[in-house]
Amino acid sequence: MTSPNPSPALSRGAGEIYDATIIGAGAMGATTALHLARSGMKVLLIDRGEICREASGVNAGTLTLHMTRAALIPHAMRGRELWLDAPKWLGMDVGARSAPGLSLAFTPAEREMLEKRAEARAAMGAPIRLITPAEARAVEPRLNDGVLAAAFCELDGHVTAYLTGRAYRRALTAAGVTIRENLPVSAINRDGAHYDITAASPDNRAPEHLRTRRLVLAGGVWLQSMLGWLGFDVPVKCLINQLVVTERMRPVMRSVVGIANGLLSLKQFENGTVLIGGGWQGIGDPVRGGVEAIPENLVGNVRLARHAIPALGETRIARIWLGLESETADALPMIGPLPGMENAFVIGCVHSGYTSAPCMGWLLSQTILGHEPELPLFDPARLMAAPAAQRPEETP
């Protein structure tokens, strides 16, 4: 069979220069790569691991406006539509399904939080409204009787996140993108009008040098060290989210269920498995990745899930894993051109980023192609000083 990766000899080809190189093959980077290639660019996509094997492939796959940061509601709504439309533009059904979404309150304090949050998100255009507990049970008959209040959104849903990599790999290959997996980059240097990327060769031979006219950094929680290659110092916080999936069980829910404080995301897939998320933290860091779950946090997360839908007590936990999520100092994304660097861009650190990834990648590709993006980007310059090399002389 033919190898999907070009042989090292070929890719080291005599002075080949890519129009655009995206480092980081998650959903953000892969979407950017796909649109650039479809517009005719010669595109290289590099990842230190495999395509969509970090956050993009292991997240809870929740499409929910209830948990989206208010400022990102328009992007999330567009992203959700794109996931549902994936067969059309991505060429494969990634299991994206529309479902109603409920956010619940079990205490008076949670009810207050629920009302405040629903209002803020509705103000940004999310079709979220408060409903009575009886109305919530009409949507989701097996809800706990103790629900005090609920917010409803008809534009929620879920995606089978683990299929993301396969879908993108197919689409990118068809679009002519050169995909290099398991190729860690160690440095980037400016070389005239080009960027020279130093990457460790997978066979431990001399490092490869890859040249590109345009550069996109799309490395999620690794963006802090990646931006460091270009002299930027931007702190990126790494969240270690625990996820739990059950064995298959009879249909017990049809909506996406959360609670006001955002500490639960719960949905049942078509195959009968139920995914329990909500950002309860495990142990890990960008160097080691997700290392281990914290049993107390698992118990808390699972108790919360079973409290919302008591019928979950009938099934068993099949698997527990960890997904890394990145966050900037102001918890808003970095998407746009890097200040003082020609043809260099960054994309990432998007809260609930999986939902909006197809939208964000598309917006950035529009910008790179010189078009006005249809929704606002998130200027990374607000978070960073100019690169060290270009900074005014500092007194020692």
Partner: protein, 482 residues
């Protein structure tokens, strides 16, 4: 209900925790405790013994006199008399560095803390998929052994036995002794392979004699034994199963020839054992691939130390070598841990270990010869047909696996994501090594690394795991940002 949420209820840290009370783990626990260490021994079963030395069911006079039952009863009696703190019925579901072990029992979740950890979780049976292997009535050789040993139950009235290794004859003899009928035995290994191993097998004349006894009982009852035959397929025909055999060459590649078939009501089949590396993979210890010993196993030094400080591994989970070897190595691992924890002087350790090491080396020769007979051969994997289900939990066929590799999957973790192979309740314990072998054959890269270790080691019933609690008992972290 007590849960892991109340740290005040945690028992004081032990010197050593041993997971698995088979021969390796039980002996390790006893030998470490004998040096004065406080040792906890955890097992999901109700008694010590593991698979081979499993306690027979009450009232089973016949199997109570078997060498395994005698050895097992002796093990249980010595354990009873030791200072080892045994906790049975505890399903270990997570291990954290340092060491913390989390288990679940009818009483809820519990956490155990220890300065050092020995994992002795044994092996699981491999079945190389063939059409019909997922039919009701088709069970593993190891499963049949458990039925016979602990329940005194026959797999069926008339059973076909297929696969490779010593369990073939043991199960056949066990069924005959329990009054069942054996339609035929299909041994994947050619006779020449057994003969080639003979010098090493002769290191254990007692076991060799026992094997000869099993063979004799088959001869006496006229059970046909087909050497160098694979089980080609099993189909259901009314309330019966029809099992078809096919000859294989020395490489276990199916070849043309007579294909005898047998109408039976049960089929037991097994193609060797795979080391259980759940704990060492979860903790990311270094592993290596050893074809002859069943596949991936943790790297160990001469004292059963993994590359992670304080973590030891022993028994069939470190490479298939059999129960006798596991017992001796278990004692050695316990002594090594005692020495490392300061309970045993280096010189005394060396004296105590020397004789055991000699015995273990001898037992190991026999065990490894048996393991080689059961090792996964590339031709067995190559022969899996496209429509055959490889992952039975998730119904993933070989064709679906090939298609994912065609799409660019290069690790079994990717394969799992793209096909759900290994995502079901068994978490890849059954399909994992065949899936990695399929990928290795398709990509020409061998060996392919196994699935990333994940918790829980066993499925956790949510009702037990969450326990009884009110909403107010759930300790919520700070809310996510707006």
């Amino acid at each position: 209900m007590k849960t892991a949420l109340e740290p005040a209820t945690l028992p004081a840290p032990a010197d050593l925790i041993v997971i698995g009370a088979g021969p390796a783990g039980a002996e390790a626990a006893m030998s470490a405790a004998a040096q004065g260490l406080r040792v906890l021994l955890l097992d999901e079963a109700v008694a010590a013994g593991g698979q081979v030395y499993r306690a027979p069911h009450a009232g089973d006079k016949k199997s109570a006199s078997s060498p395994e039952a005698v050895a097992g009863n002796d093990l249980r009696a010595r354990l009873e008399a030791s200072t080892v703190e045994c906790h049975f019925g505890e399903t270990v579901w997570s291990v954290s560095p340092g060491f913390r072990v989390d288990s679940l029992s009818a009483q809820g979740t519990r956490s155990w803390h220890g300065r050092a950890l020995i994992t002795a979780t044994g092996a699981s049976e491999r079945v190389v998929p063939f059409p019909g292997w997922t039919l009701p009535g088709v069970i593993g050789l190891a499963g049949a052994t458990i039925l016979l040993k602990s329940q005194g139950i026959l797999p069926g009235r008339r059973t076909l036995i297929a696969g490779c290794g010593p369990l073939l004859l043991a199960v056949a003899a066990g069924i005959l002794a329990a009054g069942g009928e054996v339609a035929a035995v299909a041994d994947l290994s050619p006779r020449s392979d057994w003969l080639r191993k003979f010098p090493r097998l002769a290191s254990r004349p007692d076991l060799l004699l026992r094997g000869a006894g099993w063979l004799a009982s088959l001869k006496r009852t006229g059970v046909p034994v087909f050497s160098a035959h694979t089980l080609k397929e099993v189909v259901r025909d009314g309330d019966q199963l029809v099992a078809t055999l096919q000859p294989v060459d020395g490489a276990r590649r199916p070849v043309t020839g007579p294909e005898p078939h047998f109408a039976v009501d049960a089929v037991t089949v097994g193609h060797g054992l795979v080391p259980g590396t759940d704990v060492t993979r979860l903790l990311r210890a270094r592993h290596h691939y050893d074809f002859a010993q069943g596949g991936w196993a943790p790297d160990l030094d001469g004292n059963f130390r993994t590359n992670l400080p304080g973590l030891y591994a022993v028994g069939d989970g470190t490479g298939i070598a059999g129960a006798a070897t596991a017992s001796l190595n278990g004692q050695l691992a316990g002594l090594a841990a005692a020495r490392d924890l300061g309970a045993l002087a280096d010189t005394v350790h060396e004296q105590l270990a020397a004789r055991l090491e000699q015995q273990a080396a001898k037992a190991g020769r026999f065990g490894r010869a048996m393991a080689e007979l059961m090792a996964l051969r590339p031709a067995q994997v190559a022969a899996i047909s496209p429509e055959t289900v490889v992952c039975r939990c998730e119904d993933v066929t070989r064709a679906e696996i090939d298609s994912a590799i065609e799409d660019g999957a290069r690790t079994v973790n990717q394969l799992k994501s793209w096909t759900r192979c290994g995502m079901g309740p068994c978490q890849g314990r059954m399909c994992g090594d065949v899936a990695t072998a399929l990928m290795a054959q398709a990509t020409g890269e061998a060996p392919v690394a196994p699935f990333t270790g994940r918790t829980p080691f066993r499925p956790l019933p949510i009702s037990q795991f969450a326990g009884d609690c009110d909403y107010g008992d759930i300790k919520l972290p700070p809310p996510a940002p707006l």
